[in-house]
């Protein structure tokens, strides 16, 4: 990658603060093989941006102070640089363009990321999650379901995992026959087994039914699934596409199941739009979230015309339908869309989150993503543009899943062990290519590329930092936590996800965090309990010592004073403020330094439209700046580990 860096270092670069035109940091810009680094001259704050997170680079029109460069990242960070010389700006621009467009997998950061871990530890880290154990936890294999070796060599379906679970009653020829009748060979296989009712969620791709084709083995396969749920006499087949799209597919020899050909199936369309519609919708949403100072009306109208929340609602409604069928009716469901790796994945994993409290824990969500997304061949590298490919393949599929989970967290604040930061962290790592987990498009591709041997796994890293990702309101025995979640899907339950789309616009977020405050309280409680235990032991000890030696007792007392001091140190070291390397301000102290300004300025809450004077004869002479931007607070949202927040402890109001 080094050969693509035309200019490794530029000095006197300005980093603009987007919330205010008046505040900019001056510093040095470095380009390395994988990062763009900006180091502030005065305070030596550093801003690191992975090239793989860069979405596009744009040269803006020249200003009096230099040549501006706008860098938009996939995690919605926007960085504006001002470079003094045109040549330098051009070199940075060309270098970044090339560096952010990876051509081969081997150029990705994960292949060069070498933390100090030996080979054995790396292997262990990859074994952190064990899907076999997960299927066991669900309750398979059992007397009706078992694992099949049919896809061991990825011969039947090269986008499926090697280990698959199918009904015991489905013979090998039936499986193989069914796979030949399904798009990309993705035959119906188990995604989730619901122990209570023995109903299952199965997934597949669309059948190659055209206008009239049928396949005996495929029909037998579905019958086997239906019959493996002894409590029910029929099963649902859910096609997550809009009916029109499914019908159009028939012209190309694909399509959907004909109810007359299958025994006891109830066929249902759910109507989630395809990846292209979703991509355009998100694009519109990003434009809305990026408006410089929209009015309330503009924002709500933009939100409405983006249709984004409508799509989120349709996905959540589909998940709710399936969870209900499985839990309440005890009926098994086969879910498919076209190829069964986008909408099918979203809907199956969302239904699982609703059904199983385990998936609402930290480890559970990791396992779920590993199982339904990674192993079942969700095309991560295509959808999130890891390497230069056809841009039409990109789409915010996992974005929507994570957002549905977030919407659920908003509706059930006590039901999830993880918090919003966990979702955002996963989101970032799907795009960052820092770890190998999400590289490539299928298990087979990852094996061929040696991901396990050459890169590191994300999950143990997240697990190690789990303190940061815990929801303090979660309690394993809470009524919200137990059993099946029954979310409302009334439109007012869906909100714009400010935490993701405006993650880096610090001024928009609450200035004090309930999350941090509660985490601090919980931690304090825990420490107090520890101190208490020590004290009780001490007291008991002192009682005994009294009967013994006075000399020993004196020492005992000294030690106990040391113990008093200790917790304060622990607290300083572990307090949640450290989450962000000391950047996250949870207390009110650093919020708003009271800076008296010398010049008259009423810019913060202004709005030019109403400032004109009604009486022409007494026009106010001074034209104050009434642009409507809000004050930016000192507290910043947490920055992710790959992107360091440059200046979150800056005073809040020196921008004005």
């Amino acid at each position: 990658m080094m050969e693509h860096i035309r200019l490794p270092k530029v000095e006197r670069v300005q980093l603009a603060d987007r919330s205010s035109s008046r505040r900019a940091q001056v510093g040095t810009l470095y380009l390395t093989a994988f990062h763009t680094i900006f180091v502030d001259n005065e305070v030596h704050n550093e801003l690191w941006v992975l090239h793989s997170l860069v979405c596009n680079v744009e040269k803006l029109s020249i200003t009096s102070c230099g040549y501006p460069l706008l860098i938009r990242c996939k995690n919605f960070q926007v960085i504006q640089l001002l470079i003094p010389k045109e040549n330098d700006c051009n070199d940075v621009f060309v270098s970044l363009l090339r560096l952010s467009r990876t051509e081969r997998y081997e150029e990705l950061y994960c292949f060069s990321f070498m933390p100090n871990v030996d080979k054995a530890a790396r292997g262990q880290a990859w074994d952190f999650l064990n899907l076999k154990a997960e299927y066991n936890r669900m309750g398979v294999s059992n007397k009706l379901w078992h694992t099949t070796s049919v896809n061991r060599e990825y011969r039947v379906c090269d986008t499926y995992p090697a280990d698959l679970y199918v009904p015991k009653s489905a013979s090998l020829p039936v499986i193989v026959g069914s796979s030949r009748f399904r798009s990309k060979g993705r035959f119906p296989t188990l995604s989730y087994y619901y122990r209570e009712t023995q109903a299952v969620i199965c997934r597949s791709s669309q059948p190659l039914s055209g206008f009239s084709a049928r396949c005996l083995e495929d029909e037998q396969m579905l019958e086997a699934i239906m019959k493996s749920n002894p409590g029910s006499r029929f099963m649902y087949v859910v096609d997550t596409r809009p009916k029109l799209n499914a019908m159009a597919n028939r012209a190309t020899g694909k399509g959907y199941e004909n109810e007359d050909n299958y025994t006891n199936i109830k066929f249902q369309f759910i109507g989630i739009e395809n990846i292209h519609v979703m991509r355009n919708s998100q694009q519109k949403l990003i434009e809305v979230s990026d408006l410089p100072s929209p009015s309330m009306g503009e924002f709500l109208l933009g939100l409405e015309t983006s249709d984004w929340l409508k799509h989120i609602k349709s996905i959540l409604a589909a998940g709710t339908f399936i969870a209900k069928a499985v839990a309440e009716e005890g009926v098994s469901v086969l879910v498919h869309c076209s190829d069964g790796w986008d909408r099918t994945t979203q809907v199956c994993s969302l239904a699982s989150v609703l059904l199983d409290p385990f998936y609402r824990t930290l480890k559970g969500l990791m396992v779920l993503i590993e199982k339904d997304w990674v192993s079942f061949g969700h095309k991560f590298s295509h959808r999130y543009g890891h390497v230069v490919e056809e841009p039409k393949e990109a789409s915010p599929v996992i974005d929507q899943f994570l957002e549905c989970v977030w919407q659920l967290m908003e509706q059930f604040p006590c039901a999830f062990e993880y918090n919003e930061r966990f979702l955002i962290s996963i989101y970032n790592h799907v795009h960052s290519c820092h770890y190998g987990n999400f590289i490539c498009n299928s298990e087979k591709e990852r094996k061929d590329l040696g991901i396990r041997e050459k890169t590191h796994s994300l999950w143990p890293h997240l697990w190690k930092n789990k303190v940061d990702f815990v929801n303090p309101l979660f309690r394993a025995d809470h009524s919200q936590t137990k059993g099946v979640l029954q979310p409302l899907t009334t439109p007012y339950c869906f909100k714009f996800w400010r935490g993701l789309y405006n993650h880096f616009d610090r001024g928009l977020h609450p200035r004090q965090s309930v999350l941090d405050s509660l985490m601090a309280i919980k931690e304090e409680t825990q420490q107090l309990e520890e101190v208490l235990t020590i004290y009780q032991q001490k007291l008991a000890g002192v009682g005994r010592e009294q009967a013994n030696d006075l000399f020993v007792k004196k020492h005992g007392m000294k030690n106990s004073q040391g113990l008093w001091a200790e917790p304060t140190h622990i607290r300083l070291a572990n307090s949640p403020q450290d989450y962000n390397g000391g950047n996250l301000v949870s207390g009110p102290k650093d919020l708003l330094p009271q800076q008296r300004k010398t010049n008259l300025d009423l810019s913060l809450f202004g709005d030019t439209s109403e400032s004109s004077d009604p009486d022409n004869s007494d026009q106010e002479s001074e034209g104050a700046d009434f642009s409507c931007h809000s004050c930016s607070g000192g507290a910043s949202p947490p920055s992710e580990d790959s992107v360091k927040d440059p200046d979150s402890d800056d005073p809040a109001f020196n921008n004005a």
Binding site: E304, Q512, V514
Partner: protein
């Protein structure tokens, strides 16, 4: 009392009550003077009666028999809009634990003045309004500049709509700047002026200073007001004051906005576009936005630029109070405490003459004449809730208090929000014959229900973000009677549990500590004795 006249049918059997989120109940419905009493009994349905409550809840009664249903309906109609204030429930509410002799109210201009020593050299208490003769809607005493005598005040009052001359409502300790409020000056079409009014404003600031007048009307509205006898302060006559216009909606527009929002929240449609366009169309969040940004502007003038501010619109009893009270919440840490907030409401809304009786008579479900109805107070509570969302540790009271106040402003057991001015309250002897809500809320067992468990006092101003992304629908109020609110309540309880757990672990530690230190001194004595023996 002629309540019985209104009650055509006092008892109806076999009534089915349908509440949101609950199974239907069957029983007997009793209509009494102030309450509907429903007692459950195990027993089918006829005509249906929907009760749309002021707290936005909808109760549905299925009453057998058309005639009885109509009777009950007309009784409820009549009893829920009683003309005479003294017939209202606060005059009959006599809980055993409260006595009428307890103090009524928390705050007054006298107290405010007495507590703010730094006011004394430039400001004075004036009793010019002791008989309510200068201004009907002001309290008996007000705070005004020392340099202005009562005669001048009375003359200035005659130049302001409803006699509401400029008075002090907030003193900013860090720089001595003040916020004042008034109604519009009555300049009229031919630009009348009033020397006394000019003197009064000039006396509020130093020669060298510049003051700001924040007019809560648009420039056009202010201009048009002249045709009706009102107007604005012309720069030619008020040299040291600069005027800024911030258009805030009021009256009918605000009331219609609330009605549209409540209607949107009750819409059973599953259509996302429809919800978002209805939410947008109601404009309620835009009103929250303008209220907060205007208050932010006032606070900014005072705190950051060091100017005194006068706020007014037309009458100075609605949007003016909204802006001055929000600005105080932003600036003044004292007003963010439990007691301080209630005091703020008492001074800026109750005593300052917000016409609660006209503004909060029917709430959102009424289709009756809307001329005087206006949810300005509800808008204040909403904006306060937004502040609490953005600064979850800064307010000592929780959302629950705001919900309680929203309910009590429309229908209450207490007398606090009765009437429209101090004068009316005196005439009807409200203070002698009803209990005070604020005093009641401050009782220890009540207070606990309404405090914010995460409160940490901060001395700094809390500047809200007014970006659309930062303002949210107040689900606690507008979706109060839906399932959505239930899980939020559970979350609130959970926060309490966490906070209480800390307190509980703290306590035994304290005990352990005292035992140990006593032990410590004991050992010290022993040590001394040791040394003594060595000697």
């Amino acid at each position: 009392m002629e309540f019985s006249e209104h009650i055509k049918t006092a008892n109806v059997d076999d009534v089915v009550l349908k509440l949101p989120l609950r199974p239907a109940l069957k029983g007997t419905l009793c209509v009494t003077a102030h309450h509907l009493v429903f007692s459950e009994r195990k027993e089918e349905a006829g005509t249906c009666l929907r009760n749309l409550c002021k707290d936005l809840r909808i109760l549905q009664f299925d009453i057998p028999g058309m005639e009885e249903c109509l009777n009950v309906a007309s009784s409820i109609e009549a009893l829920s809009s009683l003309e005479s204030v003294t017939e209202l429930y606060p005059f009959f509410h006599r809980p055993r634990e409260l006595s009428l002799s307890e103090p009524w109210g928390l705050s007054s201009p006298q107290q405010q003045y007495a507590q703010t020593e730094r006011l004394w050299d430039r400001w004075r208490l004036s009793k010019v309004n002791r008989n309510f003769s200068v201004c009907m809607s002001y309290p008996r005493t007000v705070i005004v500049p020392c340099a202005i005598d009562d005669i001048t005040l009375a003359k200035a009052a005659s130049f302001r709509q409803g006699g509401r001359f400029p008075v002090l409502c907030y003193y900013h300790r860090s720089n001595g700047m003040v916020i004042m409020r008034s109604s519009q000056p009555m300049t009229g079409a031919n630009r009348k002026r009033c020397r006394e009014d000019e003197l009064l404003l000039q006396a509020a600031i130093d020669e060298s200073e510049m003051g700001y007048i924040i007019d809560t009307r648009s420039a056009q509205q202010a201009q048009q007001a002249r045709m009706a006898g009102g107007g604005f302060e012309s720069k030619a006559f008020y040299h040291h004051w600069r005027r800024l216009h911030r258009h805030l909606e009021r009256g009918k527009v605000l009331q219609e906005s609330l009605i549209k929002l409540v209607e949107a929240c009750g819409d059973p449609s599953q259509n996302m576009d429809r919800w978002l366009s209805k939410l947008e169309n109601s404009k309620w969040l835009s009103h929250v936005h303008s209220a907060l940004s205007t208050a932010g502007l006032v606070a900014e003038c005072v705190e950051r630029d060091g100017h005194s501010v006068l706020v007014h619109g037309f009458e100075g009893t609605d949007t003016t109070l909204l802006v001055t009270s929000l600005a105080q919440l932003i600036l003044d840490p004292a007003s963010r405490t439990f007691r301080g907030f209630l005091q703020l409401l008492e001074r800026e809304w109750v005593q300052a003459g917000h016409p609660f009786r006209q503004r909060c008579a029917h709430s959102a479900h009424s289709h009756a004449r809307l001329r005087q109805e206006c949810p300005a107070f509800l808008l204040l509570l909403d904006a306060t809730w937004q502040l609490g969302r953005q600064f979850p540790l800064a307010l000592e009271f929780s959302e629950v208090l705001l919900l309680r106040l929203a309910q009590d402003a429309y229908a209450s057991d207490y007398g606090t929000f009765l009437c429209s001015s101090e004068q009316e309250r005196c005439a009807l002897q409200v203070k002698e014959n009803t209990h005070c809500l604020f005093q009641f809320l401050l009782r220890r067992e009540e207070r606990e229900k309404y405090v914010n468990p995460l409160y940490e006092a901060t001395d700094l101003a809390i500047w809200p973000s007014v970006h659309p992304q930062s303002l949210q629908l107040w689900t606690g109020l507008f979706l109060r009677w839906t399932e959505y609110a239930q899980t939020m309540d559970e979350a609130r309880e959970e926060i309490w549990t966490i906070v209480k757990e800390r307190k509980e672990t703290d306590r035994p530690k304290g005990c352990a500590h005292t035992t140990l230190s006593r032990h410590d001194s004991f050992t010290n004595v022993e040590n001394l004795m040791d040394e003594l023996t060595v000697l």
